[in-house]
Symmetry: C2
Subunit: 787 residues, 2 copies
């Protein structure tokens, strides 16, 4: 889609060289700044034009009551929905009485740069006013990595060719007018004005607003403080009312002179503290940010990023677009997770209200898979959030007549928020995905304290869920009936292979850890009989197989279903669920997103190489990739079975999901799982990384168009670098104790500072099967050659 090519291709930044109002909503998402606690969409400083305003705080939500045509037991009564809180990004400018608006006067230059090493969004504009005065505007915005509730904006104006009268209005706004949200299905007028004013103040350089969400009752406060660098005769004024507070600076700029305003922002919210406590917390937050000061805030951003890139950077030679995209992906992963501390990490992070700001299984299976490798403490915090909502998950299990814990399919605060149970409540695999993340984290970090406490609690309660969901059948095998796997074009299936294999891992993990941490297990009432029952179930876990076709059905009976009529499906009928009723999708062979293929990646040990190859060929022909979660895992398996160039195409599809708006929904927020999938696809696909218990296995191979791949990762206290070039792979422990890894199945002993090179066994590149009609790859805007 060339029309969406808003950015230049550069290794360390995302630059919009010219303002593109036609893709304003996309750029607001791409340029969103966040630290995982506070998120600001990349809106223009002056507030308008705007597609969707958004200042979000992780966990701060409003409620929306569900209406069901027919009510049923177990259906959630309400959903939590992420709402725009108090917006502090506004800095309005008037020049000789003309409000600066990019649609008025003449915009001589306009550039925005997201700097992936500086950790800021910079903007530079030259604007000719309607009465022909030229001013130069520069702003730089950051959401602090150091202060979890803090942000800052540096805004300056220079008179270029004549003296001008300048007014700067820096504000806080609550209930700012929002467009109708495509992500919220039913109209709900209350959500357009979710906040009720509780306090407003303006004094000196400081502004404060405190509001309360109407139905959830949560309190939220924001404060702004200001530093001014201006000619001496500038006047300032502060004022406030219920939904707005304003700090105004007025004066005259001589030709060539400039005025600079630094705006510091602090936030707080709470569901149980009082108005005055929240007000105090906001004041503390903004005071701390201002005390740190602009320069040190900037320096701290860079320090955090230097450290991050040291452990996380991925270098790619041969595809500049992918080089940029993978760093963009890692940048947003860091932003989404760094300070989430005890809050959910949403599928669209804090960059938009798509999916109502809910967190899904994507967090554990995609995002945390990456973060465990590049910044493992983030995973510890994220799993700590799951632990914090464990009691809600236990209560949900009871409500569903199940044992253990049933984690929500989608949520902000822990309660189930899915209103469509066939693709929500019964997608129980989320519980095994959490368990998988727990196990991977501990295998990767050796964090035994976590394992004994948080980790064991999570494994035990999810294992109990599987025991109550499954049963030993007449055949003696353990079956799990009536669930939905990752593929949302199937539902209410029996013995979904992915679910069963992940449940098996969950059960075995729980049994192993319970045996290892006896005291903790006893505190959870885990006895020998229960442990034995988990191992029995795991050992007897049923995995359906179609002997006739020689492939695994995604779930029992899947391969007996009639095949979707791909040839008869018009291209504009994708995504299929927008055009065909669910029952038609459910009863036919058509796959929205990798399911059996994902099982072959995460539980590769359960399949032979031949099975993987046959399964991959089979499912390639059925998978329509109507979900952004699909391409990355297809890439991993494509690489494994020998379709390296196809894998490269899949990586690109995942990587460019948001930079090229391939899903047509970047406006609503990032596709965080697709971004995480980019790293996974590169590292597990081309790097051939598989982690088996506490051992890293590599089987690298590059597609024909890449010359070099180099990635870094943390593992059990080491920092590791892997370089893959034509014919060789080079492993090096950059920091930490010696480590043994496997290269193509053979042990390689690594000690710090000593790179070890190994030859790559050449792979036979096979001809991949065709994707369904009209769903073939090749949606990339520019081939990498032309980049």
């Amino acid at each position: 889609m060339p029309e969406k090519d808003a950015y230049t291709v550069e290794p360390w930044c995302v630059r919009e060289p010219k303002l593109r109002l036609d893709v304003l909503a996309d750029t607001e998402t791409v340029f969103a700044l966040s630290n995982g606690c506070l998120g600001l969409r990349g809106t223009l400083d002056e507030g308008e034009p705007v597609a969707q305003r958004g200042s979000y705080l992780a966990g701060f939500h409003e409620l929306r009551t569900f209406e069901y045509p027919e009510t049923a037991a177990g259906d959630p009564e309400a959903t939590q929905t992420l709402v725009n809180t108090i917006d502090g990004t506004f800095v309005r400018l008037l020049v000789d009485g003309h409000p600066f608006d990019v649609r008025s006067g003449e915009l001589l230059d306009h550039e925005r740069v997201l700097d992936l090493r500086a950790g800021t969004l910079r903007r530079r504009a030259r604007w000719r006013t309607p009465d022909d005065r030229v001013v130069e505007i520069e702003s730089e915005r950051l959401v602090s990595f150091a202060h979890r509730s803090g942000a800052a904006i540096r805004y300056s104006v220079r008179a270029v060719d004549a003296p001008v009268e300048v007014v700067l209005q820096s504000g806080l706004v609550a209930n700012a007018q929002l467009p109708d949200l495509p992500s919220v299905p039913s109209p709900d007028d209350l959500l357009k004005h979710p906040l009720v004013g509780r306090d407003h103040r303006a004094s000196g350089t400081r502004l404060t607003l405190v509001h309360r969400a109407r139905r959830s009752g949560l309190l939220v406060g924001a404060a702004a403080d200001h530093e001014l660098d201006a000619p001496q005769d500038f006047e300032v004024h502060a004022e406030s009312e219920e939904d707005a507070a304003r700090f105004t600076v007025t004066g005259r700029l001589e030709t060539g002179a400039a005025i600079t305003l630094v705006k510091y922002l602090g936030y707080a919210w709470s569901g149980d503290r009082s108005l005055s406590a929240v007000r105090d917390e906001v004041a503390a937050a903004v005071t701390a940010v201002r005390h740190t000061g602009w320069d040190e805030l900037l320096a701290a951003q860079r320090r955090t990023l230097d450290e991050f890139w040291e452990s996380a950077d991925v270098e790619i030679d041969g595809d500049d677009e992918l080089q940029q995209a993978v760093r963009f992906a890692l940048w947003h992963l860091l932003q989404a997770t760094l300070r989430a501390e005890g809050r959910a990490i949403a599928g669209k992070a804090l960059t938009g209200t798509g999916y109502e700001g809910h967190a899904f299984w994507d967090t554990e299976t995609f995002v945390l898979q990456v973060m465990t490798a590049v910044r493992p403490e983030v995973t510890r915090h994220a799993l700590g959030w799951r632990h914090a909502i464990l009691d809600k998950a236990r209560a949900r299990a009871r409500q569903l007549d199940l044992q253990g814990a049933a984690f929500p399919w989608r949520t902000i605060a822990g309660e189930e928020c899915s209103g469509y149970w066939p693709a929500g409540t019964i997608a129980f695999h989320v519980n095994a995905d959490i368990a998988d993340a727990v196990i991977r984290y501990v295998d990767s970090t050796d964090d035994e304290e976590f394992a004994r406490t948080t980790g064991l609690d999570l494994l035990v309660e999810t294992a109990r869920l599987w025991m109550s969901l499954g049963h030993h059948g007449r055949d003696g095998a353990f079956h799990i009936y009536g669930v939905t796997g990752p593929d949302e074009y199937s539902a209410l299936s029996d013995d979904n292979v992915y679910t069963n294999l992940m449940a098996q891992r969950n059960l075995r993990g729980a049994a192993n850890w319970a045996q290892k941490h006896r005291d903790s297990a006893e505190a959870l009432d885990v006895g020998d009989d229960e442990i034995a029952s988990w191992l029995d179930a795991a050992d007897a876990m049923f995995v359906p197989y179609d002997e006739d076709l020689g492939v695994h059905p995604q779930a029992a009976g899947f391969t007996d279903q009639p095949r979707w009529d791909f040839a008869g499906t018009p291209e504009n009928h994708y995504p299929l669920h927008s055009h065909y009723p669910y029952f038609q999708l459910y009863r036919k062979q058509v796959v929205k997103q990798a399911d059996l293929v994902l099982a072959m990646f995460l539980r590769g040990d359960a399949f032979t190489d031949e099975e993987k190859a046959r399964n991959m060929d089979y499912y390639e022909q059925l998978t329509v990739r109507d979900s952004s979660l699909s391409a990355s895992n297809q890439a991993v398996l494509a690489a494994e079975v020998g379709y390296l160039d196809l894998a490269h195409d899949y990586v690109a599809e995942s990587a460019l999901a948001d930079l090229r708006d391939l899903e047509h929904s970047t406006a609503d927020g990032l596709h965080l799982a697709a971004l995480a999938g980019t790293w996974i696809a590169i590292v597990a696909g081309f790097g051939g990384l598989r982690q088996v218990d506490a051992v890293l296995h590599f089987r690298p191979a590059l597609p024909s168009r890449l010359q070099r791949l180099c990635f870094r990762m943390c593992f059990r206290g080491r920092l590791l670098r892997v370089r893959v070039e034509a014919g060789t792979a080079t492993y090096e422990v950059l920091r930490g104790e010696p480590l043994v890894v496997l290269h193509e199945g053979n042990e390689v002993e690594l000690t710090a500072g000593v790179p070890v090179e190994r030859p790559l066994t050449p792979r036979e590149e096979r001809t991949p099967p065709r994707q369904p009609e009209t769903r073939a790859l090749g949606r990339r805007a520019r081939p990498p050659e032309a980049a």
Copy 2:
């Protein structure tokens, strides 16, 4: 439930000897009068106290927009909902200024009698006013069988012990205040006042109101006219306003004197005619009713009923309660269907707003099965309604990416009104049920004109639906995947036996009729290839069978599911769907209502006797009867496999559903299918009737507590009577040509007026299996011995 025993047990009436305000809602339903076009709930004349007012017109509905937590393709946007139209039942009485209200003064006597031969509801009361005057009130109410939009009320008051001042107010009321409706899930304030006044008139003795439903736009009008028999000095006055019109009679009654008011009612509604046309139609209706006059209206009721009972009566010796109940059932079946002419017959008839007044498959499979036998022209009209909505069913099929016609799961006017597709849209068996009713009607009547036109259209379009729903699998068999059968505790099943067998009948019927009516078939573009494809699919129809257990799974894989934990389910957790989420029900062996058992009745030819016995025993242990549609079919099969006393208990459960409020929802309207099922269970169960093509097979047998059963039915122009007594069955053609029937498999030639007696082969009474814990039979209030 003795507390619900409101009625005496009498063979030809339902008498409430004493007013029971605690079951007022139930009595309003039981005493509802209707002719299938107009229905009036059995509310007290004076309007209060009241549980639920209801004056309903078949087809007159309001719209209610569905809200979905998550929207999906193919989901209906709105539902049609039956609303109370203009209420003409009000006749208020004031005695010496005291409004007659059964809760004030003293009610000395109060009796209501539903007379099943007179076709009226009579009421008699003696009331002592708060100032100690006694008056006697008599009223009689009818909904005319002769005038489809007409009703009449005769109301008289007598001064018993002193002269009194009397005021009678006879009214029409629109938007009468209604209680919150439990049957409508989401609050919708507009539905509380659904009508907008368009015209109101009062002149002489006549009152008229015309209103328009807000969202559906349908116009409805009602008119009342009055005849007065009163002492000469009584004054009358008529007045009207937007939502009410009133005819007032005032004067003095000397001791022993009486005043009698006859109120005639006429109705009309339309979706396409103008206000003035509707006003004229209402005037014509009330004029015609008044012209007929009270005495002739009464006589016409009795003539219709004499004729009806001649062809429909069922006599039972040995169970007085059942005797009353089966006549009550037949009475309401007649009321529900007689003048429905071109309108849907709802699951609760016109007796309440339960299920929003929707018609379901119950109509064809239960109600029309009876009416075809006792009043076949009703079936012709009812199937004519299906034909009238055929274009809507075709459009629905297109919307679902299917061929042919997809009739709605629930509807008033033809559009799909189910908001929960797993137990709505995909319960496609409704289409085969319609086809089955078509075939049965033609086999029973030899109505070849109907077969060639309406019937063929319905069979062809439903056959096309099955061809697009099913597919020939790798095994060559024809499979139908992803549907829901009659049992609503399973959903989205593959190869539901009931559905497959009924689809098979549908396909074969379509093929046979298309071959027989070549010209008509060609007009529908049916060629030889299409006919051949139907026969191929029917011949290859897959019927799953569990070889290990020796039973038919209700659908593929059903018998592999874990069994519901009946022992662990508290009695107050029934109905299960109110306490457990659907996914739990769907993935376990638990049956809400006869499904495989119903297949064994309607497609008995597809099962051996041994299979029936084994299947019956298997499903008895799983069937919880959380639907009123279940007991009757369990009764039929119980009788067939030798559980005659169990069958008797099931018959009673079906028969007493409303007279004893066994389902706790009679307040919302009758359970018409349970009432129809009573006849079916008696005639097919104890009479052993099976119709095979155009031949009647009988295999009678009585349970131990019944001494005699005698039933009548119409068949291909004959009127037939079957009498079953200890050891013998006696068959007689009462009217019409000779007929050959089968008694226990042997031909019996019958000629009019000559009873033929045959001995009954004694049956071995086997010991039936247990029903699930707490769901054992025996819920009848009084054992028949004590009746």
